[in-house]
Structure formats: structure tokens, C-alpha cells
Amino acid sequence: MTLKEIALKNMIRRKGKAAFILAGLIIGVTTVVAVISMVEAMTSDINAKLEKYGANILVVPKTENLSLTYGGLSLGGVSFEMEEIKEKDLEQISSIKYARNVAAVGPLVLGVINVNAHRVLLAGVDFEAAGILKPWWRINGTQPAENSVLLGAETARVMELDIGGTIEIKGRRLQVSGVLEPTGSQDDQLVFVRLATAQSLLDKPGRISMAEVAALCTACPIEEMVKQISQALPGAKVMAIQQVVKGRMETLSQFKKLSYGVSAVVVLIGSLVVLVTMMGSVRERTQEIGIFRAIGFRKKHVMWIVFIEAGIVSGLAGIIGYLLGFVGTKIALRFFTESQTIAVPLNLELAGGAFLLAVLVGLAASIYPALMAARLDPNVALRAL
């Protein structure tokens, strides 16, 4: 006969009580696992979507001048005649440690041109990369070929041009193949051509003015990627677009706070269920504990019996709770999200955490009942006999 056997046999005898504690803890653990899994899965999904939503790192030439533009309003003196980056240097980005996290690199060459008596900014872009970097672009018409241009909405309006029209840049006639729908950004006021066309028109062969990088930063800090790209491109200034990064981080942070808050409440309720049920169980067993004490059980032996019971039920609740939470998350995500691609992988860390959480909550909630049992005066119990 061991204390463990006494605890086990008592649990088997009092199946209802054990089942109640088990159910309370399972609900708690399942909820915690489901909430955390769902938030993680949704966060991961949101993050993946956010990462596709434009560039979050800028690569610009190093300059000693301060920008004199704010909110799209030029205060004069801004020159684009600064030192450019060599287009070929951008290949170095593919050699950084986190290269697999680079979704797209969009080189951009900029220059001021005169079109129909208007001074306008010409932008040479890689339209393939632009598809990733600017997924919000909606083009009326088609992307420009070698001898055609894409106009920003405002440019088309001011110049009174539309698809099929032509413009002349430095003596070269280019057809308007498409017009961007308004984006609300600076893109509305640009004339876009292919990178090579712009380099040729601006007489900047093999050079670019800046590059936009879309980095997938779920598994890496953006600061680390900025550092690595800076090392790969020593002549360039690399910076994270803080608004994008911070926005993402805040979204994640709020999701996590919510999940931890909900989890804490559920765990608290679960621990109260254990506490109340264990106290009831101890009261029910006053005589039994009295006999244990009368025949020489020390206080610690009585406490051990309570803790063994709580530990076994809690551990079981941890395992069942994780599995139910895992399955529940898979089912719930089908109903709560439109995305069918959200993955919920078996998370061993979460499984271990759920097990430990259940056992810790079970044991912590059993401390008071165990002390209550241990402090039971054997004489009082004997009188109850």
C-alpha cells in the first residue's frame, strides 16, 4: 500500500468529484490552448498578408542633404542629382543570411522630365517586383512595354492624357499603355516606365535611385534584416519603414494581450473549480483523514495524498485539454475566418506548456485544501467517528 495507491483508489471511488475537477481543468486548458492557437494561427496569417502588403525596407543612396519635402509638399531645393546606387549591387541582397525572407526587391530610378510643358517625375520600375510591392495598384489598360508609359491618375488628369495617347520624352515618343487608378499616394503624380527605358531616358545606365524591399519578418526581426542589407550594400542607406513595422507589431501585441487576458480569466475559473471541489472532497473525507492521522500518518502524508490526486487529474486534463484545444482550433478557424489556408500545426511547446499549466494550476489550487486536510485535528476526526 502506498500513498499513490490510496490517492488512485480514492479517485476511482469518487469518480464524480474527479470527473468534475477534470472537466473544470479541461475546459480551462482547452480554452487557453484554443485561444492561443487561434491567435497564433490568425496572427501568422495576418502577418503573412501584411508582409505581402508592400515594402517595409527602403534602400536609398547615402546623402548629407536633409529632405525638404513633407506630406508630399515640396519646399524646394530637392535634387535628384544625388549619387545613385548601382543596379547590380542589389544582387548582394540575395547573399544575406535572411535572404529567404526577402519577398521582393523593387529597384526604382527617378528623374525630372519635361512633358508637354509640365515638369514631371519619371519613375523607372521593375513591374514584376511592383506586383508584389504595390499590390493595391489597379491599372486601367496594360503594363508598359519598352516604348510605352503608365501614368499616375493625377498626371493623366493634369496632362489630359488617356490610354492610347502619346507623350514625347527627350525626343522619344512613348504611348500611354495604362493609367493607374488613384492610390492617394505620390504614385498618382508620376510617369512610370520600365526600368531600362527610364535608365536610358535619364541617361543613368545600370544605376538606380532607390530600392524598395518587401521582407517577410515573421521569423526574423526587421532590424536584423536592415543590418544585414546595410552590410551587403555599404554605399547605401537602409532603413525600415517604421510605420509599417510598428503597425504590425501593435496588431500582434493587441491580439496577444487579448488572448492572454482571456486565458488568465479561464485559468482563474479553472483553479477555483479545483479549489472548491478539492475542499468539498477534503470535508467529505474528514473521518478517513482522521483515521490516517490516528494510525500515524504525518501531515505531509495527508498532503501528499491530496497533491497526488490533484496532480494526476491535472496532468490528464493537460493532455486532454491540449488535444481538444488543438482539434477545436481547427474546427473553429473554419467558422471564424474566411481564409482556408490558415495552418494549425501540432505545437509541442504549447502542448508542454498546457500540461505544465494544468499541473501547476491543479497543484496550486490544491494547496489550501491539502493544508486544510493536514491541519485536521485527529481528535476532532475521532469524535466524528
Binding site: 500500500m1 502506498t2 500513498l3 495507491e5 490510496i6 483508489k9 480514492n10 476511482i12 471511488r13 473521518q287 478517513e288 483515521i291 490516517f292 492521522r293 490516528a294 494510525i295 500515524g296 500518518f297 504525518r298 501531515k299 502524508h301 485535528d377 485527529p378 481528535n379 475521532l382 469524535r383 467517528l385
Partner: protein, 224 residues
Amino acid sequence: MSYIVAENLCKHYGNGNGVVAAISEISFQIKSGEFVGIMGESGAGKSTLLAIMGAMNAPTVGSLTVDEIDVYGLRPEQRADFRREFLGFVFQSFHLIPYLTVVENVMLPLTTVKAPRQDKQAKAREALSQVGLLDKSHRLPSQISGGEKERVAIARAIVNEPPILLADEPTGNLDTKTTGEVMQLLQGLNAGGTTIIMVTHSHECAGYARRILQVSDGKLVEKG
């Protein structure tokens, strides 16, 4: 030399004007191997006296010495060890643990003793053999009769071979025939050297004791 020495035992409950003396100024000595009966009417203080002798109820005044150990000079946890090593309890209502089998109930006092499982089982089987219940060792308490339950309770009380056995109305719930069997069992244990202190109402049972302590209104009125 006396094995058990009770000196001036008093137990008061309550405080102020509401103080009730359960027992007052009780002193006696019991030699090793004695069979002592404690008799008295209901409320006379017999059970309080037994609880004090069972190291479970500290007297308000007085001392209890067993084998030269000042029982109430021990810390509570040391008293638990004392109960395990020196005392065996037989309760009127048996008080077996209902979810443990007969042999498991008997093994209970050995649970906290560091010894191989086989040794504990052998001791439990030996104790069951002494009370004639070896063949029912795997039954639950609900599957045996009242007399058998009492015998299991005796087996549990003697399994760790305590020098003293305290019995509180051990035959209170038994018929005449079974009472005789249980008392013979206690007598046999006493013959083997166990000191027995038994609280009883029954003159028939008291007849098995070699000495009677008569308690009335919390006082020892006669040392037989």
C-alpha cells in the same frame, strides 16, 4: 516499573464561565502486558481519556508517559510517529476505508513505513491470519460481516506490532457470539504481550480485563 503513567490528567473544554471539565485529576499506572478496562456511564469521560492516551488530545493539565516518553512533550508530528510505533486503535464502528480491500486496510499503518512491499504484505497476511480472515483478504469491507470488519480493524491495529492496543467499545456493534470471538482475540493478543486498554460499557467484556478503571463524572472513582 510502570509502562504507562498518567499523572493528574485534566481536560477542560470552553473558557470563562463556560468551562466544562471532561476529566479531572486522573492518575493511574499501567504495567506492560496488562489488560485494562475503562468503564463508566455515557459522558463520564472515557472517550476523552482514551483520546488522551491515544496521543490525540492534549490534556489541559497533567502528563502522560509511555515507556518513559513524555507523550505531550513531543511535537505534533513526533506524536504521529509515536502513534504509529506504539499504538494500535480499534474503533467501535470499525472505520475501515471503504475503497480499500481487507488486506489493503490492514496494510494502511505500514504505508508510511520504509520497508519492501513484500514485507508489508507478509505482515498484513500474518495479521489477517491471526484474526482468521486470510481467505477474505481481497474483499471490500462492504462484502464482509460486522464481526469480520471488527476483526479486520483488529488486524489493522496489530499489523505494525504496537506494544499498546487501544480499543473503544470494540464490541459495541456486535452480537453476543461475535463479541465472545473478538474478546478472545484480544485476550490472545494480550497473552502475546500486547498491553490492551479497552473502553467498554459491557460487564461481559470487562470480565476479560485483568483490571478495571471506573470513571464517573470525569473522575477516576475506582482502580480495580
